[in-house]
Amino acid sequence: MSVFESYRLRLRRKARHLRGRLRQRELAPLADRTAAIDRQSILLFSTMRNERVRLPYFLRYYRDLGVNHFLFVDNDSDDGTPEYLLDQPDVSLWSTKASYKRALFGADWLNGLQKRYAHNHWALVVDCDEFFVYPFCDTRPLRALTDWLDSSSVRSFSAMLLDMYPKGPVSSHHYGEGQDPFEIAGWFDSGNYTISRNPTNGNLWIQGGPRARTYFGTEPQKAPALNKIPLVKWHRDYAYASSTHMLLPRGLNLVYDEWGGEKASGCLLHAKFLDTLAAKSAEEMVRRQHYSNSDEYRAYEAGLRSNPDLWCKWSEKYINWRQLEILGLMSKGNWA
């Protein structure tokens, strides 16, 4: 990497920070409980729109893992999301009506908030339909993981997005508030992920899974990226470059071993394929606020109309993290 190249990346990182600072003006605080954050707190950042029905289970899941404080940006919901969040004692809430797309799909908003509140904290950045699974998550709280990462001098932890889907058409099961989404969407693809390395940023680019298999069988390069680095010991100089797929500085993207070993990693179980998706994609066709002209949602919209089944006879039923570890989707690394 040339001096010029690394300087370019530095400028890019600075630009992200500037954007983050400017877009902070779009955020109006509805509930600022950040005074409750102490030095040890593990923080969770998320931006959302009309996720009221998912929230109760989402909050419960992450509280049980040991997240201490939630920092949310609400993007113009009209289903009671902000009202619900205002009642939660461990949630700080900002709201905005500005464009999600122009805020780099929410990254600007969160980069700004993280710069202000997450410095020197372990911060988890996830969407409302992403559920973090890490080695030993059934017996050890999130704090055990972050303590171990601290003692190993590891700053970032990768968790690949694992698309979960139901058996039968997506719309055939109703998701009720507070329900574990994986009771419905309990299946996943175990071994059709392909990986390449991004030479500039050093991150891996993972594609595959049921979306690539069913919607992008003829245009694989358009299949959504599944690599994510959601858990980072944040420093105010860091920035997410593109959603949570890529970080700057580049060193944070080196979550994989290049000499044959395995580093520890987790998974983000993605509960996107519930009956709530139909309403989302219909709305998205009008708003066009998602990545690459909402190509993905266009595909869903088309797919959902024919009511497809993502399930196939080779689909795996989710059991626990150990199963994912054995299948090679995540790794314990040297954590024992």
């Binding site: 992920y193 290049e258 000499w259 070993g261």
Partner: protein, 565 residues
Amino acid sequence: MSVGFVMLCHTALNRAAQVARHWAERGCPVVIHVDKRVTRTAHDRLAADLQDLPNIRFSARHRCEWGTWSITAATQTAASLMLASFPQVRHVYLASGSCLPLRSVGELTEYLAGRPRTDFIESVTTEEVGWTVGGIDYERFTLRFPFSWKRRRWLFDRYVALQRRFRLRRKMPGGIVPHLGSQWWCLTRQTLSAILDDPDREKIDRYFSKVWIPDESYFQTLVRKYSVNVESRSLTLSKFDFQGKPHIFYDDHLQLLRRSDCFVARKIWPNAERLYSTFLSDDPAIRTLAEPNPAKIDRLFAKAVERRTRGRPGLYMQSRFPNEHWENGKTCAPYSVFEGFSDLFENFETWLGKGAGSRAHGHLFAPDRVEFAGGETVYNGCLSDSAALRDYNPKGFLTNLIWNTRGERQCFQLGPGDRQDISWFIATDPNAQISVVSGAWAVPLFHSNRNFSDIRKDAARLQKIEAEHLSILRSVYAKARVRIWTMAEFVESPMEPLQTILDEINPRAQRRLTEAPKMVDLTGFGQFLQNLKNQGMQPVLMGDFPAGDDPQSAAALRGKPYLVK
């Protein structure tokens, strides 16, 4: 009362207090050293917590930094205080604030009382130590280390390099043979006091204060000078990972720890509530007089280190993406590639599946779709049969397939009509067994009902592709088990090569091949080749087929597909 504990604490003081109280209340004196970097208030709170216990002392505080003399100095101070204040103590046990006793004090005292003159300290000569991290072992004793490794890494490294460059050496004080070992020991009063009251101590201390990580060598070396009975192992269960930092125990290790029969374990995660409450309660558990047996835990941690350093061969995933040639196994299991066989034999895949007891796919790299065995559209691990998805990352496709079907041998067909991007990968993969009948692609052309000029063009194209492929298989970089026959050679006696291949795939299969695959009709093939030549194309890869002289064995095989043994 025969054992006293020296505790070195720097974090999680509340847990240290809990453990100190446990020991002190059961009659064992405790001397606590608190790192000077701990705030005064935290220190005072700890002292206040424990002030009701008469047999707990606090020693003078040192500022401790890993790898430096300060930790040894702190140990000396605390140990001296222990020996001076509690004359009845026979064994001194060095522990840390994150240690946890796994067996009752009664068991430990009984164990030590039975071995009154034994010093438990891991003490190994530098030649035999395998665990030093960073490559500095003997040089710990011969170089100087004035710079902090944690804070001044650059200077540390430069200074070491400089000393190596100019071959600077320190002289060791007389009578010292360097030994290394775990920091956590249990020494008798006699040995410990001999070390601490050594008339040469000043000189020895001055020497060790410049040694790298003296807490792993000071007592370990000196004990050899005074002890009459060194038992070279630590009573503390403490395991290190590949970076040299201790493994941490959590609640889910409870059963493992219980069954290890070790006396003390380190390091315990401070929030491991269940471990602390279980082991610090006076469970009237069965008193075993068993020797410590940490084998199970050793295995667990050894496996973890192996996972981190070597990984699972053939796996490519989010946290394991090896650089080329560092894969430690490009694929995870052996597989076989057959080239030309399916052109030469009818229903070769069916025959192969039966004969080799493996999964026989068609042309996995066919241009229009992936021909999985049995015509499946989706395969193990939800691999799709879409050619576009496969061609997007052919190497990923193949490694995924082999990974997904662990435990079942995969065979597939390849030919010059297929996508060739995978050639180099399989050629350089030691797991690949590649068998080629070169030139067999001409057989389908021979049987096709097409204009001869088109056939000629196709033949020229396929021959060029296969020639390139063969040169890859014959390159010096090829690591696969490659066998190449020309078609003429092969049809002469097809059974022998087939038997060799199948034996290699399934070495345990005792029986010989009884059923030969049925070879296609080759009558007139020689003439066909001659026609190609006449049209100006030179077919070379199939070997020598004289025009008009049709292969005998092919005709013979057609007559009797069953061989007699």
